[in-house]
């Protein structure tokens, strides 16, 4: 489904790359977790996949469902089925949360040549999903992410994900800022959403998320490359030992892909 080859990326206007020849393949229906110390390039990877304009791709390629992702605008990628749950969702005061959700939902449906949802169907779907996440309906009446707590922002991202039904969901540190109850609720929702057609890229600092959502693969991103790939046990080892031991192994790098 997703094929990243030799991806080298710098912040727009700078010459030192953040990602340095990264390789990663994700197949349909798989859950991949990416872990790594601060500054290793995790958020850069999610942003580049979503098409953020603040980066320049110096080298390499990204294929998504057989298409060259790098030539597509962010909204085209969204329509193809890439969804990024942001680490820091921006607030847009004055824009009603529900209004935004409906616009996004119908734009994406139009782009996928599906029928727009009318107000009744839309509301019915939103209500179901709100209940799943454990949110109150008043949540919809507020301004988009404005004055939301950290946890509310993350929950809102998941609500959007449920409405937009992506093929590849990238969750950028969705677990940070969530309390245990919210984390469990969201993990449960994500597990329900695991289908053979949908793939997941979970960017996280903590193994805890992975004890709720069993990953198929765990990758360690270190200094711009994936240096190790394993299963859940790798995450457990990281939690115990930290990233220090990677330094020693970094000299003979293991390229990770499945």
């Amino acid at each position: 489904m997703l094929e990243i080859r030799d991806l080298t990326v710098a912040i727009d206007g700078e010459s030192t790359p953040i990602l340095k020849g990264l390789n990663l393949s994700i197949n349909s229906g798989k859950v991949h977790a990416i872990m790594g110390p601060n500054g290793s390039g995790k958020s850069t990877l999610s942003h580049v996949l979503a098409g953020h304009t603040g980066y320049s791709v110096l080298q390499g390629s990204i294929q998504f469902m057989g298409q060259d992702l790098l030539v597509l605008a962010p909204e085209e990628r969204a329509i193809l089925g890439i969804f990024l749950a942001f680490q820091y969702p921006v607030a847009i005061p004055g824009i009603n949360n529900m209004y935004f959700l409906k616009e996004a939902c119908n734009r994406i449906r139009q782009g996928r040549h599906e029928k727009s949802l009318d107000a009744v169907d839309f509301l019915a779907q939103v209500r179901t999903h709100l209940k799943q996440i454990g949110l109150d309906e008043s949540f919809l009446k507020r301004s988009l992410n404005d004055g939301f707590s950290g946890g509310e922002k993350k929950s809102n991202e998941i609500l959007q994900m449920l409405m937009l039904q992506p093929k590849l969901a990238i969750l950028d540190e969705t677990d940070s800022g969530l309390d245990i109850d919210a984390l469990q609720a969201i993990s449960k929702v994500i597990n329900q959403q695991r289908t053979p057609q949908r793939s997941w890229l979970l960017v996280t600092h903590y193994q805890r998320l992975l004890s709720y959502i069993q990953p198929d693969y765990v990758h360690i991103l270190y200094k711009g490359r994936i240096v190790k790939t394993g299963d859940h046990n790798l995450a457990l080892r990281l939690e115990k030992e930290g990233y220090g031991w990677l330094q020693a192994e970094a000299t003979h790098t293991v390229e990770g892909h499945d």
């Binding site: 603040g54 605008a73 969204a78 996004a104 959007q160």
Partner: protein, 481 residues
Amino acid sequence: MTDDTKVLDLIAQQDYEYGFVSDIESDTFAVGLSEDVIHRIVDRKCEPKFMLEWRLKAYRHWLTLQEPRWANLRFKPIDYQGISYYSSPKSMKDRPKSLDEVDPKLLETYRKLGIPLHEQQKLAGVAVDAIFDSVSVATTFKDQLAKAGVIFCPFSEALKEYPELIKQYLGTVVPYRDNFFAALNAAVFSDGSFVYIPKGVHCPMELSTYFRINAANTGQFERTLIIAEEGSYVSYLEGCTAPMRDENQLHAAVVELIALDHAQIKYATVQNWYLGDEQGRGGIYNFVTKRGVCRGAYSKIAWTQVETGSAITWKYPSVILRGDHSVGEFYSVALTRHYQQADTGTKMVHLGNHTRSHIMSKGISAGHGQNTYRGLVRVAPNAVGVRNYTQCDSMLIGDQCAAYTFPCIECKQQAHLEHEASIAKIGEEQLFYCQQRGLDSENAIAMMVNGFCKPVFDKLPMEFAVEAFKLLEVSLEGAVG
């Protein structure tokens, strides 16, 4: 430059589509202002004697005043002797009796503006008074309105037909001493609209006035007076456009609203005067005094404005809440782009008991636009049970524009006053967020702007809400794709 910043730039540079000049012979006074000019205006319009006296008093008072400079606006000094104070299309000397006699070029102008002047457009259900330069050129549906007892006519005609009503109410809400521009307007205003709704009458249709400045070097000074008698209701809309010219033109209007017991007046403005080019050349200087007085108990006045034009906007539609339980409302969307500057807001003066007011101001700045909200909520010492709710939101598009708010509260009595404010910035991160959710950048901006303005647009008469949506979309959408 990234794509997103290009979009942000482009949306600030949309063309002005009403910038054409109509080639119509006009009868225009030489530039300059003096008592003689005022005599000539009064003569030309055959006004009653009390008007001449009132105008001269206003003029003499104006001479003692300084142009106000307290607003958050920067503009070159206005040469008041370099303006012509009267201009009318020549063919109008003998005012046409029906639309068939109206100069076809004028009708063409209004057709281009999309204004339903012709009787065949009855279905639109809107009665229109059209003011071209200094004079009213056509008022539609007069007969139908007359059946309901509603008077809707050019100000100049009202002075002839209903001088007593004018004498009774003119200047009672905005006296000529009120401010510099109100004094100037009183001295030289040439036309405008007059509306009188008799007791208990619910005006059967929307009333509407369209103002058009055409001639060069002229100022436009119109005056609108609306009187709603006990238990009556009227909804009124004004629209304005002007040609593109390199020099600035002055527009200084006065609007007075009077609502008696249980009367309701809704006054909406869609102001789209020429805003100047992207270098900030030209555009209308819009200095306007609008005020309503809720004289009677349980009366209500609501101002709604969509301000998208003018190089300079200086305007504070206000309500004096004198009657007990009266209600004042102000809903505003002000958009500034290019080098536009707007200093606008409202005053709610609570004199009566249990009076309520609601202020909702939405300012959008793009390009190099400067947008200022200036508001005053005053509660008189003996007014009990007063409530006010103020919401004041700003949106910044790009990083060259600015928004300011100066809310002022003067409260000398226990009252329930709430103020909320927010600032949203549409920058690259907001655009990216929207794009990630499937909206292209134009959609995203249109969506954000429309979502931002919707609570105000909802207050406009239905047919104009659609117009206002389109107007903002045209103003803001870039030429991308």
